[in-house]
Amino acid sequence: MSAEDADSIAIGEPLMELTDLHRTFMMGDEEVRALRGVNFTITKGEYVCIIGPSGSGKSTMMYVLGCLDTPSQGSYRLAGYEVAELDDPELAALRNRYIGFVFQAFNLIPRTTTVDNVALPLRYAGVGVRERRKRAEEALTRVGLGHRLDHTPDRLSGGERQRVAIARAIVTKPELLLCDEPTGNLDSRVGAEITKLFEDLNSELGVTVVIVTHDPNLAKRAKRNIKLVDGQVVYDGPPQEGR
């Protein structure tokens, strides 16, 4: 799997294709069918929110889309790769090259400076130390934290931490930004700033943004909403008012 393959995906081309996708967990003897027969396609450059009530399978979906988990049945193709067919190092490379994650709890590595946190994905991409620092500084500047390079996470506010996490997600210039409740731990003002940042990144860098969220303010600003209920897609289209 080489990096060049990725560059061939143009705006509007399919980036993620899900066909009759199932994810079933075994809880003792009991089957928990978290996703049951999901179909959709997300093209490069889209800005999508996945919504739905608690327990509907949103997180499960996010882990499958992020190649951290694999479907039990059906097909998930990311950038042309059939994810179920890849082994651990291939999946790791795929995540590293194509996906940037943003989590609800930020998930920065403690006692590690901002710039080192952001540079982490580049290390697994085999980028040299100097180049890493340079690109990490660029990414931090892009999210408005160029002045917080050598702070450790415990000295940053929640909004700043999430910006660092976003810088870490975009530092590899991924095709896909995959976010799990990115505003869930932030107050509404800071949440709005972060929302704005996603929109800017989407329009300026052309990066595909997929956000799993409860937050109606976040969902209604997306161009497309996919609603899950009981592991199935019940709505797929532009945001609906009052729903």
Binding site: Y63, A93, F101, R111, Y124
Partner: protein, 399 residues
């Protein structure tokens, strides 16, 4: 790889106190290895020096056949003693010998003006002095004429002089040895102890006079030395032939070389060093278990971090190496510290307490450091595998 090592150091730096505590076990273990092996090695070197100090290329001929191999009764042991004629034959026919001295050993009381000391009496020939590297300070040693004429003369060791004469000059005085009267003709120079035996507490008399004194016609043993180290095996062979010829080909005597002695003691000290090493290894194992525990805790605490690393592109083996190297770095650093401490203690002892036999040989350093490395690998494997096998989704969800 270098990357991983670097970040392992950074991880330790991030949590200094824990790293230090984790290291402590290995520090102590390696310190114990260094010190205990240092003592074992010191003992070996001490014994080597002592044995070499007995003289150069020394051989001891004792009566009787000593079987060194196998069991069973000694074959044809007629226990034919060693006698003066044997020594004369060796003196005449031996071409590879530098010196030879008969010896008769016995105990006895030395008396002078009502003072008495029980001591060891050695009947020797004139060559003994050079053979055993023990010389007179004043007067003369036992001479050939003394031996030939069975003269009643003696040479006293330092301790005897001090005990019997105090400040008086013993030369020319007469002492009583058992029921004989002996004139003092020489005083030995100061000698230390050898293998726990006080070399100053001796009286030397001509071997012939000793046979008279102890009323015996055979020798206790015969000392000989080869002309050179290279000649030593051939010299032993020659002695064997000469003596066997005088016994109708029967070997009713045994030749012990200094090499044999060195080998015997060498095996002994090697066993001791190994035992000390085994004891010290136990503390190293304990240190390793400590590292393993802390690493397991660390893996649990850093579960989220592991999830994040996997999410941003780390493979299982990246995680495995990360934790394995962290363990090795902790352990090796602990090893280096322990080695440093141990070496300092050994060097301080050598400097300020030179009588304590300790040594610091390069192989201890290699063993100490190498073992801390191995301990790091072993105690890191289980935690590192656990970390690598974590499911990334579970790791990210971990609270």
């Amino acid at each position: 790889m270098f990357e991983h090592i670097l970040s392992a150091f950074l991880a330790l730096k991030a949590n200094k106190i824990r790293a230090a505590l984790t290291m402590l076990g290995v520090v102590i273990g390696v310190l114990a290895v260094t010190l205990l092996v240092g003592v074992g090695d010191g003992a070996r070197i001490y014994l080597d020096e002592q044995i070499s100090g007995l003289g150069t290329n020394l051989m001891t001929i004792v009566p009787g056949r000593r079987e060194t191999r196998g069991f069973g009764p000694p074959a044809g042991n007629t226990a034919r003693p060693l006698v003066m004629e044997d020594v004369e034959a060796l003196e005449r026919q031996g071409s590879l010998l530098r010196g030879i001295s008969p010896m008769v050993m016995g105990g006895g009381a030395v008396r002078y003006k009502g003072r008495t000391r029980d001591t060891m009496v050695l009947g020797v020939g004139p060559a003994f002095s050079d053979l055993r590297n023990m010389h007179v300070e004043r007067g003369s040693f036992v001479r050939s004429e003394d031996v030939d004429s069975r003269r009643r003369v003696c040479v006293l060791g330092r301790t005897i002089v001090k005990e019997l004469f105090g400040d008086e000059n013993p030369l020319g005085q007469t002492v009583r040895l058992a029921d004989g009267r002996f004139r003092v003709v020489g005083l030995m120079e100061e000698r230390g102890t050898s293998l726990g035996f006080d070399l100053n507490d001796l009286v030397f008399i001509p071997v012939t006079s000793a046979m008279d004194l102890f009323n015996q016609d055979h020798l206790s043993q015969v000392l000989a030395s080869a002309r050179s180290k290279e000649d030593a095996p051939a010299a032993a062979e020659e002695i064997e032939q000469i003596l066997a010829r005088r016994r109708n080909g029967e070997k009713t005597f045994t030749i012990q070389s200094q090499d044999d002695l060195l080998k015997t003691f060498g095996a002994l000290t090697a066993a001791m060093t190994l035992m000390l090493l085994a004891i010290a290894s136990i503390s190293l194992v304990v240190g390793g278990i400590g590292i393993m525990n802390i690493m397991l805790v660390s893996v649990r605490e850093r579960t989220r971090e592991i999830g994040v690393r996997r999410a941003v592109g780390a493979t299982k083996s990246d995680i495995l190496w990360q934790f394995l190297l962290e363990s090795v770095v902790i352990s090796s650093t602990g090893g280096a510290v322990g080695l440093g401490l141990g070496a300092s203690i050994v060097l301080l002892l050598k400097r300020f307490a030179p009588s304590v036999p300790v040594a610091l040989s390069p192989w201890i350093a290699a063993v100490a450091f190498g073992s801390s490395f191995v301990v790091g690998v072993f105690s890191g494997v289980v935690p590192a595998r656990r970390a690598a096998e974590l499911d990334p989704v579970d790791a990210l969800r971990y609270e």
